[in-house]
């Protein structure tokens, strides 16, 4: 009898989801847009840094270095000033982000003493752009030094080479896509069912269910199962899109990804249920959801590396379930980590799944 009732409850849910004018669109289109647009837009690699050059030397060497910088593809020459004071004006007018100044007698001194100085001045209003720009610039100059056989005085004999493991071309998209998949699951499993339950409260239909012999747990299950199914479906689509558009295939096993996704979704539906227990309108649920979503997102390492956060913020991320799944997802996708490598992540996600569901049960007990 239970199974039969559950089947009918599920049938009703799917009917309602299908008939909803808004929900099917929001469930499918928005996540897809996120996957297709976000990785391109949320790109921290710096291109098109506007460069202003002040060449006081007019030598072959300065010319060669200029060409090397411009051919790197990161810089765009927007200003060529005879004097630093004029170059600074182009920064003030936002036409340039970085000034590179060759001192007078640059080539001569370099040839004579094997060393010289260049001035790099960066506009630090956009800190990332300024910082990354000047470090790109320095590494190009260092490369140039190496080619020409010059070394800076304090680095004689030392050469630094960096190799990017697992993502050799530092492709930002390969890094973003697995993280966005986690985000998709968070929204679908955690927040859409919560809003759905609250809407039944708002419309009063939950009253009718409450006076029927259907146990509350069965009713909740009928709310969650459809979104778990949709979540797995979306994950599959996302994996497909990652392959088709970004050529990204998980190095590790898909099975591990789905296993993580299953526990993760159960956890977040728990959080969603807890929210639905304390909200009586969709508006309240929406705002509570936003609160968690934004904090979790910004502290998940999805957009900014956790290692560059201050220590207290790093400690907070330990309490963020999204963090663990984003990390695990990237490790599986890019590094091919085995389950045993990310066991710790898995247990943390399990822990949050239990915690959130206990909160949900407590929330519903209290409101009864």
């Amino acid at each position: 009898m239970r199974l039969n009732t559950l089947r009918y409850l599920l049938e009703k849910e799917f009917k309602q989801i299908r008939r909803d004018r808004f929900l099917p669109k929001i469930i499918f289109i928005i996540p897809m847009m996120q996957l297709i647009i976000l990785p391109f837009a949320a790109n921290f690699e710096m291109h098109n840094i506007n460069l202003s050059i002040v060449d006081n030397d007019h030598s072959v060497t300065s010319q060669q270095l200029t060409n090397k910088i411009l051919s790197s593809g990161y810089f765009r020459l927007t200003d060529y000033s005879p004097h630093y004071n004029e170059a600074i004006k182009s920064i003030e007018s936002n036409d340039a982000d970085i000034i590179l100044e060759f001192p007078q007698g640059f080539e001569k001194r370099l040839g004579r003493e094997g060393t010289n100085e260049l001035l790099i001045a960066a506009n630090a209003v956009n800190g990332t752009k300024g910082g990354m720009g000047s470090s790109y610039l320095s590494s190009i100059v260092q490369n140039f030094n190496a080619e020409k056989g010059y070394y800076p005085a304090d680095l004689v004999g030392v050469k630094v080479t960096a190799t990017n493991l697992f993502n050799p071309h530092l492709n930002y998209k390969s890094y973003m896509v697995p993280g966005i998949m986690v985000f998709l699951l968070t929204i679908i499993a955690g927040f859409v069912p919560a809003l759905n339950i609250v809407s039944e409260k708002e419309k009063g239909t939950i009253e009718q269910i409450n006076v029927s012999p259907v146990p509350k747990s069965l009713f909740m299950l009928s709310k969650l199962i459809p979104f778990w199914v949709i979540g797995f479906f979306l994950l599959t689509i996302a994996v497909g899109i990652a392959w088709l558009i970004y050529g990204l295939i998980p190095v590790g096993s898909l099975g591990t990804i789905y296993l993580f996704a299953a526990v993760y979704m159960i956890g977040f539906t728990g959080l969603g249920l807890a929210i639905s227990a304390i909200s009586s309108t969709q508006q309240q649920a929406m705002f509570t959801t936003f609160f968690f979503l934004i904090i979790f997102a910004l502290l998940s390492g999805l957009f900014t590396p956790i290692s560059s956060m201050p220590e207290w913020a790093q400690n907070i991320t330990l309490l963020n379930p999204i963090r663990y799944f984003v990390e695990a997802m990237r490790m599986i996708y890019l590094k091919g980590s085995h389950f045993s490598d990310i066991e710790g992540h898995f247990f943390m996600i399990c822990f949050f799944a239990v915690l959130f569901n206990v909160l949900a049960v407590a929330g519903y007990r209290k409101t009864q």
């Binding site: 009898m1 039969n4 009732t5 009918y8 409850l9 009703k12 009917k15 309602q16 008939r19 909803d20 419309k203 009063g204 239909t205 009253e207 009718q208 269910i209 409450n210 006076v211 029927s212 012999p213 259907v214």
Partner: protein
């Protein structure tokens, strides 16, 4: 036993006493009315009886089952129609009925005879979404859904609020037919004129039960003679009447004022004196006639 028994039920919301020591006995097969204005506590009482809400004190039983201990069993045996339309607006008429039949582990076919009279009226629209039905049809669908599992006791919370007068009469006719099937019906309404359709009524105000009896007995308990007054300029007339020392009570009642005198038996002389009084105050052609008290008059007198 389809009876409902309420003993000393009280319920408080923050500082508001929604129900204060309510005790009622409703007999099997009775059509029992809870009559009272908004805020009387009717819905709260229904929610306690349908196991949706816990009372602060007191006990209640439905079909001999305790509303706290045996809530699962009670839920199988009662039908509840909340005051607000609360069926799935995005499901069709038929799907809603089917859904509630399944939820109660039964089928439409099994209990069709019970809802047939009501359902045939909305059957032509069975493929229409519930949200697109008119008010009267929504109410019929809600009643069908509350009945589809053949409940022993039916709770109807203000079923006729916001329904046109013709449909209201129809609705009470339907309740009469259901009563004949042996279903105990508890119905609440703010409309005093519907009270006479009930077997017994409880008059409620501000969480208190003022009087419980048959509508007939309640009317009979009104011992003063009641007069209806009609004239021009009704509102100033009300104030003038209230200033007359012999008047016990006077209130606006539809298109007339109802008034009672300080003593029980009113002689013609006293009526003439009142007419004179009105004339001296500039009210001529005021019509006074003796009328039978309605339930509402009794309610006002309580």
């Amino acid at each position: 036993m389809n009876n409902v028994s309420i003993q000393h039920i009280s319920k408080k919301y923050a500082s508001i006493e929604a129900l204060q020591d309510i005790s009622l006995e409703i007999q099997p097969g009775e059509l029992f009315g809870l009559i009272g204005p908004d805020g009387a506590g009717k819905t709260t009482l229904f929610r306690i009886l349908t196991t949706l809400l816990l009372a602060d004190s007191g006990s209640a039983s439905v079909c001999g089952l305790d509303v706290v201990k045996d809530l699962r069993e009670i839920r199988k045996r009662v039908g509840y129609m909340p005051g607000r339309f609360s069926l799935y607006q995005d499901l069709t008429v038929e799907e809603n009925l089917q859904f509630f039949a399944t939820v109660f582990n039964t089928t439409i076919e099994k209990n069709y005879d019970l809802v047939r009279d009501i359902y045939v009226q909305i059957e032509p629209f069975k493929h229409r979404r519930a949200g697109k039905l008119s008010g009267g049809m929504k109410q019929k669908l809600a009643l069908s859904c509350a009945l589809i599992h053949r409940p022993d006791v039916l709770f109807l919370d203000e079923p006729t609020t916001g329904v046109d007068p013709v449909s209201r009469v129809e609705f009470w006719d339907m309740l009469d037919r259901l009563k004949k099937q042996g279903i105990t019906i508890l119905v609440s309404t703010p409309y005093m004129d519907e009270a006479s359709r009930c077997d017994r009524i409880a008059l409620m105000r501000a969480g208190k039960c003022l009087s419980v009896d048959t509508p007939e007995n309640i009317r009979r308990s009104f011992t003063r003679s009641l007069w209806a007054v009609q004239g021009a300029q009704m509102y100033p007339l009300l104030n003038v009447l209230r200033n007359y020392p012999e008047i016990y009570s006077c209130y606006a009642f539809g298109d007339a004022h109802h008034l009672t005198f300080r003593h029980q038996n009113v002689s013609d002389n006293e009526i003439n004196a009142l007419q004179e009084y009105l004339k001296t105050n500039g009210y001529t052609g005021v019509e006074l006639r003796k009328i039978e008290p309605s339930v509402e008059d009794c309610f006002m007198a309580l």
